[in-house]
Amino acid sequence: MLILHCPNCGRDVDETDLHSGGEAHLKRFGPGSSDQEFEDYLFMRENPKGVHFERWHHSFGCGKWFLAARCTNTLEVFGTYSAQTLEPPKEILDRITAARPGWSWGALK
């Protein structure tokens, strides 16, 4: 069972209060992009066994989105942060590097 800290309402929230929103930090390729870019945007996901970045919706609570960095293998949570960011905050990346040296995720490492 996951317990994530919702940065919007400042509470530690059980998984059952949340709704998973899939992978975080997707870049949209819409009109004007190539077919390959559009296909990648729609279908291609990291789906890692290890460090992952996800979107979560606090659906039974404040109704806001936030992002979480966690390990899909051990369920270790490295941190949660605002959904209004283009990349994870440095302290969370540092925490992941300390716990999982040599990790990578998409373009991040």
Partner: protein
Amino acid sequence: MSNAVSALDGKTSAGDVTIREDGLRGMISLRGDLGLAKLRSVCTGLTGVDFPKQGQAASTGHQGLAWMSPDEVLVMVPHDAVPDALTKIAKALQGQHHLAVDVSDARAVLIMEGAFCREVIAKLAPVDLHPDAFGPGDFRRSRLGQIAAAFWMRDAACIEVVCFRSVADYAFDLLAAAANGGPVGHFPNS
């Protein structure tokens, strides 16, 4: 005008922890910039309680304020005072981006009183209700069993629960069953 009736019409459940449906309660869902002085003052003026901090609520009688999300506050006033309150909010926040909606008839209020009311909620919601983590004034939107609900502690032996009117019956039966099951004795002094 039609005769307004609350969801369970004041139904009660007796026991060590009593549960009663609190009847009609005026509720206004107000969204906007909660840091705005005008918004805060109109809310406190309507309810007579302090403006709640993040994750807090305050209520006296049928009036109160609850922090719902970073841009939403629940304003509780007597049921017949809602039209007047909406006018006052619209006047105070004129020109400001905001939304104020009367949600009174979409909600039900249940009040639980008794020494171990904390444990009744702890049986049903995925929330840490240890006295160190959740005390009087704390407010939480979560779920009770299968339904969405919000609750806060008025004092150490009284919890107020708000849920959707359509599921009031379920919420009442759930709380009554959990209360009749007796205390667990997990928390200190409860």
